[in-house]
């Protein structure tokens, strides 16, 4: 469903560069670590020294295959590396090796939820290529420095059809894609370090009209900037059209300081890259056995896992989707659910208390101070009526802050065990009824609020140890009886 913005339909397509998590480069054996001293991770091949030749890193191919399988794409049995020729100081060979006419991953689809609505974005292709180096303009007066550490880093460029119809959908797609590549472990997903960079092609049109002229926003390296940049770009294009100006095809950059996009180059500057098949690299042949080998080594994919959570644990779709945001989160849930036998309760706690604290502290589930087994123990004590939910929150707080690590010991030490002795509770309730004749009278006159006040008194008197449900039942019986 497309929502119109000022009567215009928004059309967005993505090109994403995911840096593949190989230890060495795509065509050389130099390491790919981030942040090393300039030019310390560039081999003779990366420097394009005379006589050097590229040799394909199989690990990069395997990661591309894994991605293709994760998005139900066709894995080309034979794909071809081409040279994209252009001069730039951080491009040592004077050409970039990339797949052009025949990419290794063809087609595919990325599915995700936008609110309650299931969306799917079709992929055109995903191809392997090498990254360029970096030009450093700041550190040198009147000169530029070149750091070739990044040159030859393996990238998977993932290209969509122009299937997205709003900024929200585009960002949701990017998040889902990010989840997939990190989930299957082909990319570390670090956006600040440039491991996952998105280019958004944005155009607008009146409904029913052919596609408008697009502008490409380059290098969006955070979801927040992505949102701001696309929103700005949509508004800008609509304003231009409304003012009677035509959109010119261009590549633009987003400036987070101003919140605006500005054109880097227009179509007239478009270079002729003189693509041709790289004679240094034979066609990449991927035999069916290789594909199966990669498939066998892949983890369960998030969508399949979410479906299993719904089927096996009876979770609502929303819970299942939320818990499959990362493999660590899902594993944490499964451990807690299995060990407590209370999947829904475990899910509530993870999506509630646990997530809240993780977000507040900006840590991920792997760093949570409460292990899944401990959460399971806590959930178990709620389920068997030993403690109330509010008491459980106190225990959880103690567990999280490191005050203790044993659930039962903390319940004991804090005296949080629910009062399951009816006799004692009845005595307390009798006392409350006697001490609050006004409330009793109001209740009997039909005011439910008065009843709640009495329950509150009872909980206070028992310091929360009473089982609220039991208090409810007993009190009602006494007042009505």
């Amino acid at each position: 469903m497309s929502r119109l913005v000022q009567g215009y339909e928004v059309v967005i397509g993505f090109e994403t560069h995911a840096q593949l998590s190989t230890r060495s480069k795509i065509f050389s054996r130099a390491p790919t670590d981030f942040g090393a001293e300039p030019n310390t991770q560039a081999s003779a091949v990366d420097l394009a020294l005379p006589g050097t030749l590229p040799v394909m890193n199989k690990g990069a191919v395997e990661r591309a295959i894994a991605f293709g399988l994760a998005v139900n794409a066709h894995i080309a049995p034979r794909s071809v590396f081409a040279r994209k020729n252009y001069f730039y100081p951080d491009l040592p060979k004077g050409y970039q090796i990339s797949q052009y006419e025949i990419p290794v991953v063809q087609g595919g689809v990325v599915e995700f939820y936008l609110g309650d609505e299931k969306r799917s974005v079709r992929l055109v292709r995903a191809h392997l290529e090498e990254d360029a180096g970096k030009s450093l303009h700041e550190d040198f007066v009147g000169q530029s420095g070149i750091d070739l550490n990044r040159a030859g880093t393996p990238l998977l460029e993932i290209v969509t059809e122009p299937d997205m119809r709003s900024t929200e959908e585009a960002v949701a797609y990017a998040k889902e894609l990010h989840k997939i590549v990190t989930w299957i472990g082909i990319c570390d997903g670090n956006m600040q370090e440039g491991s996952f960079r998105c280019d958004a092609n944005v155009s607008v049109r009146k409904p029913g009209q052919p596609l408008g002229t697009r502008r490409e926003i380059k290098n969006l390296n955070s979801f927040r900037f992505m949102q701001q940049a696309i929103d700005y770009e949509i508004r800008w294009q609509i304003e231009e059209l409304e003012d009677g100006r035509a959109i010119e095809q261009a590549t633009v950059l987003f400036d987070p300081d101003t919140g605006e996009t500005r054109a880097m180059r227009t179509k007239e500057d478009a270079a002729d890259y003189r693509y041709f098949p790289d004679p240094d690299l034979p066609p990449l042949v991927v035999a069916p056995e290789w594909v199966e080998q990669v498939r066998a080594s892949m983890p369960e994919l998030p969508r399949a896992m979410a479906a299993r959570f719904v089927a096996d644990y009876g979770l609502p779709e929303y819970d299942a989707t939320t818990l499959t945001q990362s493999p660590a989160m899902a594993a944490y849930f499964e451990a807690a659910a299995r060990s407590s036998g209370q999947p829904k309760l475990a899910s509530n706690w993870i999506m509630g208390e646990v997530s809240r604290r993780l977000n507040a502290q900006e840590i991920d589930i792997g760093q949570a101070p409460v292990p899944a087994a401990t959460l399971a123990a806590l959930v178990g004590r709620i389920a068997d009526g030993t403690i109330s939910n509010s008491a459980a929150r106190q225990v959880f707080e103690a567990l999280w802050s490191g005050e203790g690590s044993n659930v039962d010991a903390l319940i004991e030490a804090k005296g949080l065990k629910q009062m399951n002795d009816t006799g004692e509770l009845e005595k307390i309730l009798d006392g409350i009824i006697a001490a609050n004749p006004d409330n009793v009278a109001q209740f009997k006159a039909g005011k439910d609020k008065a009843f709640n006040a009495l329950v509150g008194q009872a909980m206070k008197a028992t310091k929360g140890k009473a089982n609220p449900q039991q208090v409810n039942e007993l009190l009602r019986r006494k007042l009505q009886g």
């Binding site: 006589g51 030749l53 070149i146 041709f276």
Partner: protein, 488 residues
């Protein structure tokens, strides 16, 4: 006893092994000879200290009882192979003073076999040329007539061997750069099947065509070197084939009885000079005497190999030479205003005319709108040329013909007419485009007493059969033993 420089590789190795002479003495002898004939322009770089250190190491291996077949024998390398111990220029100003941090695989393999490096040999700039006149470091003179060109691009290699400044040399062959200078200088050279020798460390001209190979005086010597320099190099060159090297000397000595020698009629058309035709004809008759059978075959697209080659090779070259941009190594213009100006001046100053011309042609044929009509079409015809050979090899075992239409021409004769050079490549280009092994051996003399070479082309991986055919010819003839007068 003949002089050291008159000995074949095999004979030198025998003397060294028997310790009748040391590797140091052999190296000193050749260094002195190279110095005495420096006027030929064959060597671009020598370093006696390096050479003698390698010779001493070889002597130590001999003393330790090692019996490798090339141990202690000198070799010189075409300057297109990068070397750690010598500068590497590829015959270009662009790489003046450049020193590689690593050795080419071919260089490494021959060094491991115990060969002692005499230095680096002149060649056409980036291996682009058929006369060696395109070197930025001056032409090389043909020792048979120093007013003539030695052929190219491995002209320095051919002259070093012909003038006996080295018992053997390495060359590279993209469109005939081993076979044609071998023909012009009266020596023997072989280009193996594409992919048998690693291209790692060979400065790329046209990647899909470039192949390394040995140049020496006899087929036997070529077999010795070829055995050592071939073999898979999967960690460094993706186009190197997973085919182990062989001891090609074991292929020698076989009978030629019943060998079907295919003679392509297209190699004997109008353009072939009479003197060359006569020498080739005589060689074919010699083969018949040796028991071979002559069959006529057809390579109908022979003429097309010229336009096909001069599209594909420049296309690949235009991209391969982009790395020479003044940013990382090699020449950089001294004065420039901005990045674009730096590129322009650096490349204008660093490259010679022929290289610039091929870069421009290559850039053009790869351009948007022209790619299909030129590059793609050329690739299609290239496959058809390979098919022609496939068909021909159902009718014959070896193909024979001239390596060049004429004997070596005069220095400057083709002047500024590169097309004349291009047309002279017609007989060597087809095997290059098909990736087939090809060799050239001396088979007579033509006008002006200049050598004529016989080209033999084999089916894929049939280097052994080629070398055997050449060896049998050389056992029956003495053309390969003739030497130019000026350098005796």
């Amino acid at each position: 006893m003949s002089a050291l420089h008159d000995l074949s590789v095999a004979a030198l190795a025998g003397r060294l092994k028997a310790r009748e002479v040391s590797a140091v003495e052999v190296a000193q002898h050749f260094l002195a000879r190279g110095g005495a004939h420096a006027g030929l322009g064959a060597f671009l770089a020598t370093d006696p200290e390096v050479t003698l250190a390698q010779a001493r190491a070889a002597d130590a291996r001999i003393a330790a009882g090692e019996a490798a077949p090339l141990l202690g024998v000198p070799v010189a390398h075409k300057d297109i192979f990068v070397t750690r111990d010598f500068p590497t220029t590829a015959g270009s100003k662009m790489l003046e003073g450049y020193r590689s941090p690593f050795d080419a695989t071919v260089v490494r393999k021959l060094a491991e076999a115990g060969m002692v490096t005499l230095g680096k040999l002149n060649c056409d700039e980036f291996a682009m040329g058929s006369s060696n006149e395109n070197s930025a470091y001056g032409p090389v003179k043909n020792p048979w007539d120093t007013s003539r060109i030695p052929g190219g691009s491995s002209g320095g290699s051919a002259v070093a061997v012909a003038a006996r400044l080295a018992p053997a040399a390495t060359g590279t062959d993209t469109g005939g750069s081993i076979r044609q200078p071998a023909s012009f200088c009266g020596i023997t050279g072989i280009k193996p099947t594409y992919g048998r020798a690693s291209r790692y460390g060979m400065i790329a001209y046209a990647s899909s065509l470039d192949q390394a190979g040995p140049m020496a005086r006899s087929a036997e010597d070529c077999a010795l070197l070829l055995s050592a320099l071939c073999g898979p190099d999967p960690d460094r060159d993706s186009t190197s084939l997973d085919v182990p090297s062989e001891d090609f000397t074991r292929a020698l000595g076989g009978s030629l009885e019943g060998l079907r020698i295919g003679v392509p009629k297209e190699f004997f058309g109008e353009g072939l000079a009479d003197d060359v035709r006569a020498a080739i004809e005589a060689a074919l008759q010699q083969y018949e005497k040796l028991g071979a059978r002559r069959v006529e075959v057809s390579l109908p697209r022979t003429e097309l190999s010229i336009p096909v080659y001069y599209i594909i090779a420049p296309a690949e070259a235009s991209s391969n030479l982009s790395r020479f941009d003044g940013v990382k190594f090699g020449h950089r213009a001294k004065q420039y205003t901005d990045l674009l100006d730096m590129y322009r001046k650096t490349r204008a100053e660093g490259f010679g005319e022929e290289v610039k011309q091929r870069i421009m042609v290559g850039t053009y044929v790869l351009s948007h709108g022209y790619y299909d009509a030129y590059y793609l079409q050329a690739q299609k015809v290239r496959r058809m040329i390979a098919d022609d050979f496939r068909r021909a090899f159902t009718e014959c075992d070896v193909i024979a013909g001239p390596a060049a239409p004429t004997v070596a021409w005069k220095l400057g004769e083709h002047g500024n007419d590169p097309l004349a050079d291009y047309l002279a490549d017609i007989f060597t280009l087809p095997a290059s485009l098909a990736g087939l092994p090809g060799m050239c051996l001396p088979c007579g003399f033509g006008a002006g007493g200049m050598p004529v070479g016989l080209q033999l082309i084999g089916n894929w991986f049939q280097e052994g059969r080629l070398l055997n055919a050449a060896h049998a010819f050389q056992q029956a003839t003495d053309f390969h033993l003739q030497q130019p007068e000026g350098v005796q």
